[in-house]
Amino acid sequence: MSDLAVKVSEPIALKARLNEDWLAVVIGLAVFGLALVSISGTDLLGWAVTTSVYTDLAQALNPFAKAYGWLGGGGALVATYAALLVVLSLGVSTLGADVRKFAIAFTAVFAIAYASWILGSYAYIAAVTPAEQQKFGLAWSLKLTNEGGFIVALLSGLVIANFFPRLADWLKEAIRPELYIKIAIVILGATVAVTAAGRLNLASSLLLRGAAAIVEAYLIYWAVIYYISRKWFGFSREWSVPLASGISICGVAAAIATGGAIRARPAVPILVSSLVVVFAVVEVLILPFLAQTFLWQEPLVAGAWIGLAIKTDGAAVAGGGITESLIMAKAAAEGIKYQPGWILATTTTVKIFIDIFIGVWAFILGYIWTNHIDKGPDKAKPAEIWQRFPKFILGFLFVFAVSLWLAVGSTPEIAKALPAAAGEANIFRVIFFILTFFSIGVLSDFRKLWQQGFGKLAAVYFVSLFGFVIWVGLLISWLFFSGFKPPLAS
């Protein structure tokens, strides 16, 4: 969340957070709507830039649609940058941001993040199968898939955060990982629907199993972490609630929502959030590779596990994307070609189910705190459930529902044209993922972990995360998803 860029002395602006959610819905729906126009034969987004695996940089970039081939790769890149700059500048102006500062910072953010993505598509990094290696004349490659570019973007951000803090500070107006990932999740609704439409039974089964994620995050993780924080580490209630929420539910959003609900001082959940982001980065750098090594034969277990173990929407959903690429690459090398989208859909389903209840949980805690612990005139009200509800989920559900209806309830012509339209929207989903990864990296100042005083907070996180969150998440993912594979690609 961009709130992380706010100094701890500033109050949490609940209104601004809600606006950020709605802004993500507006931008996500705009991308989806423009992509849908292509069904009618008019291609409005075909100029968006795509990157292919390459050895010759001149061949790396292209416009998405052949109709815009005249633009060339460089032209498509500039057009994509310009469109994002205009839309996002208009968007952040509604949040009260300094548009000039944002535009300058965003230019640098886009340049570094997309350069990282291009670097990640270099064949020596991305080529996966022997056939691909042969095609590019390579004796070896890192086999990270072209989505290894996410990792490169994350590492670029980490280098800036930890070695060039002044540059990180200069970029901060455009470092908005929560905004970027929320837009990406809204757009993702179309891809998930197109994927689900082919196998409605499997998709509905995934939804049912999302309920297990809610139980695990809210009722089991939260209670255990709260106990550890209070009893073993001696933290006060004000610190323990955001800490337990940040580690168990959904990082930044949950820490801030529940911190607000128990009337904690605003600085407390924001400080906790910064630690959540740092740990999420560590997880994104480790867990997808562990999943590829140990869970490649159980792709849906891997997808659910990433959704349960990695906190913060950005890191979790983006981590699901990397996991999908890595596992599909490994499976392809073994001669198994899965339909794309199912692992990421599983991660997203789990994460969204968890997110939906943040408002309810915050209200329950707020009710207990304001009526039984810190009794005062400021009582928790049911209206807070809606206030704290992450609105971007409504955007995701709307896009999902419309896309699913177009896929299974409209004419065969529309259903046939829909995957291409969703694919066009998906170009922007990928770009917002890249911006998210880079932004998370820039926010992850590892020195915070070593700063005296925060070590105790980090210790609770470390003990909880590596002591049981990861393992219980793996166990539950295994119990609910083992033995079931994504459909094979036709």
Partner: protein, 51 residues
């Protein structure tokens, strides 16, 4: 409030004992969570994922 103040606060804060309501919250959450998880595992067993 500066970050330094918060750091000092974390290190110097007196321990607040767990109140009965907190113990109830932890106990009920865990009990309900484990109970619901068992029910969901049962549902998962009798209604497995359909391909």
């Amino acid at each position: 409030m500066s970050e330094t103040d918060l750091k000092n606060e974390i290190n110097a804060a007196a321990v607040e004992p767990l109140l009965p309501i907190e113990k109830k919250l932890i106990g009920w959450s865990l009990g309900l969570g484990i109970g619901l998880l068992i029910i969901l595992i049962g549902i998962n067993h009798f209604f497995p994922i359909k391909l």
